[in-house]
């Protein structure tokens, strides 16, 4: 609680933030000749492709429709012709069905849009009844990295009362600066987006809005405070530097002091958390009828020549972005999609930017710190830093022993995979990777148990 700033109460680590690209303004890079659009860019059911080969499409046209409640539309980010619908490598590390579109460089939009500048009056006059539908149509998902469909978050069950909307401008992952730059350059739009979300929830009573920003971004805090001063009930909260403050549960704890119960969503304590970039795109979709076709991506790490923040169309290849930044250095050793703590190492840069890609990280051998695994010395530091109050070392031992039943007692499913334990581990054990295996095994056990119980119930009825 240095300097009296707020932060979350349990665990957490202090990492070197390495925000090399913080000063570089967002550059818009030209749309590529071909884009590759995965039909599954979000959590939930993959969208269903509705275009076929050789079909002409325009910007904002739905090329894959949402299928199921938790799912999102996928829109075309360019105008042109569909070249193929086939499996291609994506930032998930696997091949997935993608729609390949050749850009005709005409940039024709499918539907007309407006360019209303954000202000308090605009939001006040706006009828928000159609806002959630507009968000759903525009294919907006959480742009912080988890890619949860936003329209689902904005339409909680009727018995849930939301009284707090929190915008997440924490960006606690080292290296990444995309959100920080958006907050500096587009503060008005973000705050208007927050006011819009608050208005959606305000039919059930007053709603308070917060914008959480870590104190290492004083310029972002200043710009956002200026923009927020024009609205009632919106407060910018400066937070102490601690990882993983950007986790939903940690942020709620830091700002309003509420604890989300195990296995529950933030709506259980009356909160909704949205990323700042998502808020801006919600404003664009609901007010201006603009589809979500591009996002800001930080290309950084000592492995690229110039660290930059780029505004790119979805479907642009990582390779093109890295080349735009001057290419990789000679000692580049590792490519990561996302931040260094929770991002995913990739085997190739021939993958497209999707809605969830917040950063492209090229690390050098020195930065990547690829230590050999050594035995656990039971120092307990992982327990100290776990923000969810788990025992990562113990969980690791149980998984090694194959005692998957015991994982339930250890509340394994509460793990948010933030990587704090991994970072602090004296033995450099790959704790998070083990935990991911454990989660799969535990879910298998829980599923089998559920099935068995259902069967027993059936037999009882007979």
């Amino acid at each position: 609680m240095a300097f009296g700033l707020k932060t979350f109460s349990r665990g957490g680590i202090h990492v070197d933030d390495r925000k090399y690209s913080h000063e570089s303004a967002i550059e818009k890079i030209p749309a590529p000749k071909t884009v590759v659009i995965p039909i599954s860019q979000h959590i939930g059911a993959p969208a269903k492709a509705v275009v076929t080969k050789d079909q002409a499409v325009k910007i904002g046209q739905i090329i894959a429709e949402k299928s199921g409640f938790i799912s999102a539309n996928v829109l075309s980010p360019v105008s042109g012709v569909v070249k193929a619908v086939e499996a291609r490598m994506t930032p998930t590390g696997f091949k997935q069905d993608c729609i390949v579109i050749e850009n005709d460089m005409k940039d024709e939009y499918f539907e007309a849009f407006t360019a209303v500048a954000p202000s308090a009056e605009v939001i006040e006059k706006l009828d928000v009844s159609g806002a959630v539908k507009a968000v759903e149509k525009a294919g907006i998902v959480g742009m912080g990295g988890a890619a949860f469909p936003t329209s689902v978050k904005l339409s909680p069950p009727p018995d849930v009362k939301i009284d707090t909307v929190i915008l997440n401008g924490v960006e606690c992952e080292p290296y990444l600066t995309a959100d920080a730059r958006i907050m500096i350059e587009d503060a008005e739009k973000i705050v208007a987006g927050l006011a819009l979300i608050m208005k959606i929830f305000s039919k059930n009573g007053p709603v308070k809005g917060y914008i959480g920003i870590e104190a290492n971004k004083p310029d972002s805090i200043q710009k956002m405070s200026e923009a927020a001063s024009k609205y009632k009930d919106i407060e910018v909260v400066s937070l102490a530097l601690k990882y993983p403050q950007g986790g939903e549960k940690q942020l709620i704890n830091a700002i309003v002091g509420r604890d989300v119960p195990s296995g529950k969503l933030p709506s259980a304590v009356g909160c909704v958390v949205q990323n700042v970039a998502t808020a801006a795109s919600i404003y664009d979709a609901a007010v201006n009828n603009r589809p979500l076709i591009e996002r800001v991506v930080t290309v950084t790490g000592m492995g690229v020549k110039k660290q930059k923040n780029l505004l790119v169309r979805f479907g642009t290849m990582f390779t093109e972005l890295i080349d735009y930044c001057g290419g990789v250095t000679d000692d580049a050793a590792m490519l990561i999609c996302g931040g260094p703590m929770m991002g995913k190492a990739l085997q190739t840069s021939e993958v497209p930017v999707t809605k969830a890609v917040s950063g492209i990280l090229v690390l050098t051998q020195n930065e990547a710190n690829l230590y050999e695994e050594a035995p656990c010395i039971r120092c307990g530091r992982c327990v100290d830093v776990c923000p969810m109050g788990l025992q990562p070392g113990m969980i690791n031992k149980v998984i090694d022993a194959g005692d998957y039943d015991k994982l339930e007692e250890l509340s394994l499913l509460d793990c948010i995979e933030c990587g704090s334990c991994n970072y602090i581990c004296a033995g450099h054990e790959r704790l998070v990777q083990k935990i991911k295996i454990g989660k799969v095994k535990l879910q298998e056990i829980l599923k089998a148990r559920k099935e068995k119980e259902a069967q027993l119930k059936k037999e009882d009825k007979k």
Binding site: M89, G93, F94, K95, K344, A345, L346, Q347, T348, L370, R430, Q433, K434, K436, I437, V440
Partner: protein, 310 residues
């Protein structure tokens, strides 16, 4: 004197406790079928769980008390089954012995390595993260999850793939369940086995680019098989041999001479050598004949003179 007292006291306590134990053991006796223990002692005692019961004792109990048709110990040899049959007084159908084989030949020397993996050395972990450090996303990952789970020491990891010892393998199937890529399957334990050592569903050109010994689904093996045991399922881009129909002639192994994606082991290897030799001879003869014919066509005078001379 003190010694005698203590001996007496301890002796007395011992007698009282012994009596109590005898009474309780008689009173609280749980009758158990003695056959269960007999059967359990005959079983392999590996407690591998391949039968679906918690260990050999669990299987023995179920087998004696409420046998269900089809219930079997997949590991037990014919003699063990016979012995169990004698104990129970019934004949037990013979166990078809099985063994596990790998449908991949993605050794480091055969398949391209495209990245360096530094995470947990486990196939399951690597398979969750990405398509693996080998170029082929269907290949054996080679970190040995199957070897770790094998209770009979039949699997060793060599040059990035699992190698199965046909002698030691009992066909319990634990490795088949464990493999995240599903490149292991059970086949009949015979004098040998012929299988397609590839699991790639990629199209031919991609396979050739990634691997030296992948199946490109050319279909030559399908044509040469006398028993129609080989099929290339539409859309799968992969040949598969039906083990039940395969008569181990080895013709397909000899036919797959470009990619070498069909592998035989045991005695068939010799048969294959013979077939290949024969093919080679035929080819040479054909070439000779062709060369002679060509020579005759090009230089009729020369051939004429030859004939005259002879």
């Amino acid at each position: 004197m003190e010694i005698i007292m203590s001996v007496l006291v301890m002796g007395l306590i011992a007698i009282v406790l012994a009596v109590a134990l005898i009474i309780s053991s008689k009173k609280f006796h749980v009758p158990e079928n003695p056959l269960i223990e007999k059967v359990a002692s005959l079983l392999p005692q590996a407690n591998c769980g391949a039968c679906g019961f918690p260990g050999c004792a669990g299987f023995a109990k179920a087998f004696v008390e409420e046998p269900v048709p089809g219930m079997r110990c997949p590991v037990a040899s014919a003699e063990v089954l016979k012995a169990i049959g004698e104990v129970l007084g019934t004949a037990i159908g013979e166990n078809k012995p099985m063994r596990a084989v790998l449908h991949c030949n993605g050794k480091h020397s055969n398949v391209q390595t495209v990245s360096e993996y530094i995470g947990v050395r486990s196939c399951a972990a690597a398979n969750m993260l990405y398509t693996g450090d080998k170029a082929c996303m269907y290949s054996c990952i080679g970190y040995g999850d199957c070897a770790k789970v094998c209770l009979f020491g039949a699997i060793t990891m060599e040059d990035g793939i699992a190698v199965f010892d046909a002698e030691k393998c009992t066909g319990c199937g634990l490795c088949v369940k464990e493999c995240p890529r599903k490149v292991i399957s059970l086949v009949q334990k015979r004098i040998s086995n012929v299988r397609v050592t590839c699991s790639s569903h990629d199209k031919g050109p991609v396979v050739r680019k990634n691997c030296k010994v992948g199946c490109i689904a050319c279909g030559k093996c399908v044509k040469v098989c006398p028993k129609e045991a080989i099929t290339v399922a539409p859309g799968s881009n992969l040949a598969r041999i039906d083990d039940a129909k395969c008569i181990l002639c080895g013709k397909c192994v000899a036919e797959c001479d470009i990619m070498h994606a069909i592998t035989a082991d045991g005695r068939v290897v010799k048969a294959v050598e013979i077939i290949i030799k024969k093919k080679q001879q035929e080819k040479e003869e054909k070439q000779k004949a062709a060369a002679m014919a060509a020579g005759a066509a090009n230089n009729p005078a020369a051939s004429d003179t030859k004939e005259v001379k002879s």
